[in-house]
Symmetry: C2
Subunit: 142 residues, 2 copies
Amino acid sequence: MISKKTKYGLKALAMLAKAETDAPIQISTIAKTENISQKFLESILLSLRKAGFLGSKKGKGGGYYLLKDPRDITIASVYRILEGPIAMVPCVSLNFYEKCGDCPDEDACGVHRLMIQIRDNTLAILENSTLADFILPAAGKQ
Amino acid sequence: MISKKTKYGLKALAMLAKAETDAPIQISTIAKTENISQKFLESILLSLRKAGFLGSKKGKGGGYYLLKDPRDITIASVYRILEGPIAMVPCVSLNFYEKCGDCPDEDACGVHRLMIQIRDNTLAILENSTLADFILPAAGKQ
DNA sequence: TAAAACCCTATAGGATTAATAGGATAATAG
DNA sequence: CTATTATCCTATTAATCCTATAGGGTTTTA
């Protein structure tokens, strides 16, 4: 299960991607449309901006806008920013690796081997899904 | 990321599957071998027994043992018992469905559609992985 | 210069996780 | 029959994480 933070982040990104305009959209607009607590959404969009997905404009007429083509924003990359590791256990994470406290020998650990398989399969899905998949009706990929 | 509960449960099941004997193995033995808090492991094995995966024997010479063939215990089923839903959001969960608080129309929600795809792909992996995959060296499936 | 809108930090309440404690119950060995 | 072994079960706790809120600061535009 992903956190609401990640879910809200994805919904916000989807809305920005659908907009198809370069004009910034305000936090309050997104919050109302998607039924998200505005203050909570603020912190989420801030993270996404610092991660390089979003640009922002301050002052009257300001707001947030996408910096990249939706096809170049993978779900995997958003997931890592908002949710953290994609792997099920730290000892098989590529980007957030941590050694197991228990388990002296990773190569001898059956759980470890299985988790690597699951990680690779999951990654294949998340790396191949992009924001663009939100917009189009669920047709095949181009 | 899965909880330690699920990870410990999988390690314990893997150890029981490897044992290849009908003789019960004691909690203390599993806890020491796998470096798991014994009391914590107790509650985990209890859940797995109630779920029908394990049998137990009390008293001297007692312990836990597998009730099924390792090939008939899918990772998905263990995951659901110890961790909960496999889906990333409740509104696409098959076994633990819950309607979104936000999001009035599920069919119109881009996140919803994507999460269904991810769920189906993840399920395909977890339903096709079994305890038996822990035992054999990572060779191809039979 | 006033209003709009993002920027940033802190914090609080609640839920969940991980572990511990302590005993009750059942089975076996001698 | 009794002592020992080992599971069974409930309750509690400490720590962490999640979600949300508060409250102002800063920048931009009209």
